[in-house]
Amino acid sequence: MAEPVLELDDLTVRFRLKRGELTAVNGVSFCVRRGETFGLVGESGSGKSVTARSIMRLIPEPPGEISRGRIAFEGRNVLDMSDAEMRALRGRRIAMVFQEPMSALNPVFTVCDQISDALRTNLGLSKQEARERVVELLSLVGIPSPRRRLDSYVHEFSGGMRQRVMLAMALSCNPSFLIADEPTTALDVTIQATILELITSMIDRFGMSLIFITHNLGVVAHTCDSIGVMYASHLVELGGKRDIFERPQHPYTVGLLNSIPRLDAQARYLTPIRGSVCNMLDPPVGCKFHPRCAHAMDICRREVPQFREIAPGHHAACHLLDRG
């Protein structure tokens, strides 16, 4: 097995808000190995993006605070790094594709300026060299007539094109670690397949590792090696791809897999998990999933279940699994 590149240990992130304190990420631990694709899935609001931003040290402080834990990148805790060390890491070694392109792209810069900025500061390219490299990158991510779109502004790009601009920026400096937060949600399936091929080729060629955050379980099924499932700030299940898809153990994971609309089956209504997301400012005691869980027992309403290994490489946090 390849060596671990990124290790999260007990990561806990809090936000102090006017209305109270919110724990967005609660004791999350996992590891990503060199050349591995780690899929992070789960409920919206469960803490996936906050986890990703913590790795990049991009949590706004205040109101946010990484209150516990360790994030080791190639053995060094990024939480101990100076701002200068962080700047050297970000973009060049670890790059991130943000979930909402419009929040990360600058509306007053042209597409070329946005991407070439990183190329010029990180790689020291001249203006003209950077421009040529941008054309290459845009065509790599499937933007048609890239040369003619260089001087467009992002509002003139479609949603999926913006997402690909983000990806082009992230890939521009050949990072060894990529965190991609919903990088293909706005793409049609043919371009999605092209992008996934591109990412896979970077993994093969450069030994890049990847954290892939997505709601698209189809993409996860075909690209990820291991998968973490989050619910309400906790990692509730972690395992190899086949563990999660073929032997899911946590009731939330099971519910998630049952919610997927299938191309072949034609039910008029889908089967979502009943109930709604818990209030993160006042989460339920015990297992946070208990109000929605069909198997909830007394102990579930009292005690937080332990996250433990239930089979080699397969972990879950559920009282059902503690019974024997």
């Binding site: 409920e43 049609d188 399936v189 189809g218 519910g255 209504y269 979502p272 709604s276």
Partner: protein, 328 residues
């Protein structure tokens, strides 16, 4: 289908954007170029029906949505709502029509005002259209909406940035529903949601349709979502509709090579199933001054010599299906 039962009818709808000439092409003396985002499309949606719109990223789906809601003006073509030409509406009639046609955007980050609370965001459209008189009434309706879209009531006085991407999309859906529209255009309204919430929202769309007879134009990239929600489906490629028909038939036997390519590229949520396949070769076709002929030329596995010369028209092929391809 006669025009009479169409809630929305679109004819020859066209939107061309002139491009900024970059400095290099200006120096080379090239003439200004035109980006044909939507290039003469026709479709109809019956009352109470859902038309699913799919197609390549950048093919003009959002532009179509913005044209139909008149957020932008077409270069050519006609949009009729209940048989009336929307483009000739007076400003006061247009204001009423804005309530009838609601758009849920693709990117909830940029469509929600960061300085307004959820209460303010959801009550504003009601105020604009005179739907709720007192504060108490508004509050009640807003809480009801939050419940409808599966958001806890405690969120009502929070600001958009305090929510996750998926939660924000639910707020955007609640806002569209707040004025009791007739036609809801969803521009990827469920793409940002986890599949469990997505299933809830799709069921909600279904319930609202049955309860209030809502009509939907539903844009999505996830073909299983489109298959699930749509009665009819239209497939776009670079500004054109290349195939349209009843959802079941179109998915069971796709006719156009692009539709076939789309279906082959779907990653199914089962690691045991075949991985997605790319059946189109070559580079993505461009909407900028596209060459004559079919826009799939150069990428199509079924190409004939005529394809590069003559643009295939969208023709009826029976069973309410239309296709634009020379080689059926």
């Amino acid at each position: 289908m006669t025009t009479g039962d169409a809630l929305l009818e679109v004819n020859g709808l066209t939107k061309h954007f002139p491009l900024h000439a970059d400095i290099y092409s200006k120096l080379a003396g090239e003439k200004a170029q035109v980006l044909k985002a939507v290039d003469g499309i026709d479709f109809r949606i019956r009352k109470g029906e859902t038309l699913g719109l799919v197609g390549e990223s950048g093919c003009g789906k959002s532009t179509t949505a913005r044209l139909v809601t008149r957020l932008i003006e077409p270069t050519a073509g006609k949009v009729s709502l209940k048989g009336e030409d929307m483009l000739s509406y007076s400003p006061s009639r247009m204001k009423a029509a804005r309530k009838e046609v609601q758009l849920v955007f693709q990117d909830p980050y940029s469509s929600l005002n960061p300085r307004k609370t959820i209460m303010q965001i959801l009550s504003r459209p009601m105020e604009l259209h005179g739907l709720a008189a007192s504060w108490a009434e508004k509050r009640e309706r807003v809480l009801e909406l939050l419940e409808r879209v599966g958001l806890g009531l405690e969120h009502v006085d929070r600001y958009p940035h305090e929510f996750s991407g998926g939660q924000r999309q639910r707020i955007a859906i609640a806002r569209a529903l707040s004025v009791d529209p007739e036609l809801v255009i969803g521009d990827e309204p469920v793409s940002a949601l986890d599949v469990s919430i997505q299933a809830q929202i799709l069921n909600l769309f279904r319930d609202l349709q049955e309860e209030f007879g809502l009509t939907y134009l539903f844009i999505a990239h996830d073909l299983s979502v489109i298959r699930h929600i749509s009665d009819r489906v239209a497939v776009m490629y670079v500004g054109k509709i290349v195939e349209a028909g009843p959802a079941a038939a179109l998915f069971a036997s796709p006719l156009h090579p692009y539709t076939k390519a789309l279906l082959a590229a779907v990653p199914e949520a089962d690691p045991g199933k075949a991985p997605p396949k790319l059946t189109l070769k070559g580079e993505v076709s461009t909407p900028i001054d596209p060459p004559p002929g079919c826009r799939l030329c150069g990428r199509c596995p079924r190409e004939l010599p005529v394809c590069a010369q003559v643009e295939p028209p969208l023709v009826e092929v029976g069973d309410d299906r239309q296709v634009a391809c020379h080689n059926l």
